[in-house]
């Protein structure tokens, strides 16, 4: 095949890929910035006549009849942030120590721990939902922030340990040996040598952990009702109820997706390294 045709075919393919990946999301954004009148006309106007922030305003500001929805939205936004950040911090702390132990210290049962950590990542949450619900109801943790944080740990912690273990294992052990000869303890070496060297790993783990708990739906859906309800649950409620305004859902959806999407796009190198760490070596 002549080179020129090949080049053209390549660019056609690239454009198709870009359209396929971005257009659904762009349509969500355009919808959220549109007036209802532009979207409900047939034939549909793809480019709205006016761009408006009205749909976003109506999520945040009371317009008389919608005070309940506004309060719910702001509260769930706050809940999502609190729960995602707290889960991330706890898992980071526990996960870094555990990952160091697995990656660097040979102790009785260390291989078993690796196995457990991997197996846990594949346990379907739906199996755990039923017994966890029974347990949490007895402990009066349903619809409590702390309750949801506890169950979210079961998703995020294995992920953190798994990723950090990979980063720790990639740091040459000679560095640590040298520190130990100079009188450093294992923990001293972890905090003075290994952690600073694995700061790219830490960044990616922080983002992974945040995204995983920010996006989490099933547990939040089952274990919260009102007080601890997160943004994904609210969006789910909005979009399964009939008659609710579509445009409000699109605006709420864009807002909910912005933190993970922006983090992932800004730190894409870290994310790609993290995603491939387990699979490609």
């Amino acid at each position: 095949m002549p080179r020129k045709i090949k080049k053209i075919l390549l660019y056609v393919a690239v454009i198709c890929i870009v359209i396929w990946t971005s257009v659904p999301y762009l349509w969500l954004i355009v919808s959220s910035l549109s007036l209802k009148i532009d979207l409900l006309t047939v034939p549909l106007r793809w480019i709205p006549s006016h761009l408006t922030l009205e749909n976003y305003y109506s999520l945040f500001f009371d317009r008389g009849s919608e005070s309940v929805n506004v309060r719910l939205f702001i509260q769930s936004l706050g809940n999502s942030a609190i729960i995602a950040v707290t889960t991330m911090v706890i898992c980071l702390y526990l996960g870094v120590l555990a990952a160091y132990a697995i990656a660097r210290l040979r102790f009785k049962g260390s291989n078993l721990m690796v196995l457990v950590m991997m197996a846990v990542q594949l346990v379907p949450p739906i199996i755990l939902v039923v017994p966890l619900y029974v347990i949490m109801r007895q402990l009066k943790l349903i619809d409590k922030h702390i309750g949801l944080i506890m169950v979210d740990i079961s998703i995020v912690l294995p992920l953190v340990i798994w990723l950090m273990r990979g980063y720790f294992a990639s740091i040459p052990s000679e560095l640590e040996d040298a520190a130990r000869i100079d009188g450093c303890t294992h923990l001293g070496a972890l905090f003075r040598i290994i952690l600073p060297l694995s700061s790219p790993g830490l960044v990616s783990v922080i983002i992974f952990a945040f995204i995983a708990s920010w996006n989490e739906y099933l547990y939040a859906f089952i274990f919260t009702n009102v007080d601890a309800k997160t943004l994904p649950v609210l969006i789910g409620e909005f979009s399964t109820k009939l008659g609710l305004e579509y445009l409000k859902i699109t605006a709420a959806g864009v807002l909910a997706s912005l933190p993970p999407v922006l983090l992932a796009l800004i730190f894409q190198r870290f994310i790609i390294r993290g995603l491939t760490a387990g699979a490609v070596k």
Partner: protein, 303 residues
């Protein structure tokens, strides 16, 4: 007795002690939130435990499982889940490899396009579901508008009310979100293939298709296996996508087991039966799960 520094080191800097001390908090957390509920669920699955009828609570051995094998609605959901996961996985692998091969070429704006692939991956799955539901909307959805303006259909159709199109469309929504994972893995694997291999086969006069079959495919096969197993397992865990887009309809054609388990436990409040359903369903993904763990475990322990 005073604990001196040397004494402290002798005890706590010994890898055998320190390792256990460091891993204990994480392990305890996982024991309490995952392993304990896992066992308790197994125990629950052997009981009749219906919240509305506590007088009938009893230990009934495997009766729940036996009943499940004769529960047409459950078998239907198992079938739907299997179909959903298998078709999604195959599409994600084929599309993932095709897109990764394109993105591995040299073109203007390559870094940007590669970065864009992360977008669907990062989106909350509930937003993905709401987004596609809006696109598929019968009255105002972009899908109807697009197909009409392209003159592919004459009238707006209620896509989600027809079994076949509903199934296809929820799979499409799933594939859109999940393919980037495969793309990223395959792209990374492609970059590890040395150029000289292709050089050599070109010298030998091989066609591009031949080099793809003989060089590229074998080199990315391990990664494809891993991606495929994970995607299949994740397909079985899909919940909110279906819950929001079709709610399991029409006529239960898209009702996945997760929706059945949810309805059985939290609507009908039959906890024992729900637990048995979750366990029985998980047996299907046990084989890919064990295969995945084996291959991943080998890699870790060898290092």
């Amino acid at each position: 007795m005073r604990i001196t520094k040397a004494r402290y080191r002798a005890i706590f800097d010994d890898p055998r002690t320190l390792g256990v001390v460091l891993i204990a908090p994480a392990m305890l957390a996982i024991l309490a939130i995952v392993l304990l509920p896992l066992l308790s669920s197994l125990w629950l699955s052997l009981q009749q435990r219906d919240l509305p009828r506590p007088q009938n609570d009893a230990f009934i051995w495997f009766k729940n499982y036996w009943d499940l094998l004769h529960d047409p609605r459950y078998l239907n959901s198992l079938n739907a889940t299997f179909r959903f996961s298998l078709v999604s996985t195959i599409l994600e692998l084929v599309l993932g490899v095709a897109i990764a091969l394109v993105l591995n070429q040299k073109f203007f704006g390559r870094g940007f396009v590669r970065g864009l692939m992360i977008l669907p991956w990062a989106m909350p799955s509930i937003v993905n579901a709401a987004m596609w539901k809006w696109i598929y909307n019968a009255d105002y959805g972009a899908l109807n508008a697009l197909l009409t303006q392209l003159h592919l259909i004459d009238n707006y159709r209620i896509w989600l009310a027809e079994p076949v199109t509903a199934t296809v469309l929820v799979i499409l929504a799933n594939v859109w979100k999940e393919t980037p994972f495969t793309i990223i893995l395959v792209l990374a694997a492609l970059q590890t293939i040395p150029d000289d291999l292709y050089e050599a086969s070109r010298v030998d006069g091989a066609t591009e298709w031949y080099s793809f079959l003989k060089i590229t495919l074998p080199m990315i096969l391990p990664v494809l296996m891993i991606a495929g197993m994970l995607q299949f397992i994740w397909g079985f865990q899909t919940f909110e996508l279906i819950y929001v887009i079709t709610g399991g309809g029409p006529f239960s054609t898209t009702e996945l087991t997760t929706l059945r388990i949810y309805a059985m436990t939290f609507r009908s409040l039959r906890f024992g039966y729900g637990a048995a359903m979750a366990y029985l369903t998980s047996l299907v993904i046990l084989i890919p799960a064990v295969a995945y763990i084996r291959s991943a475990y080998k890699r870790v322990v060898e290092i």
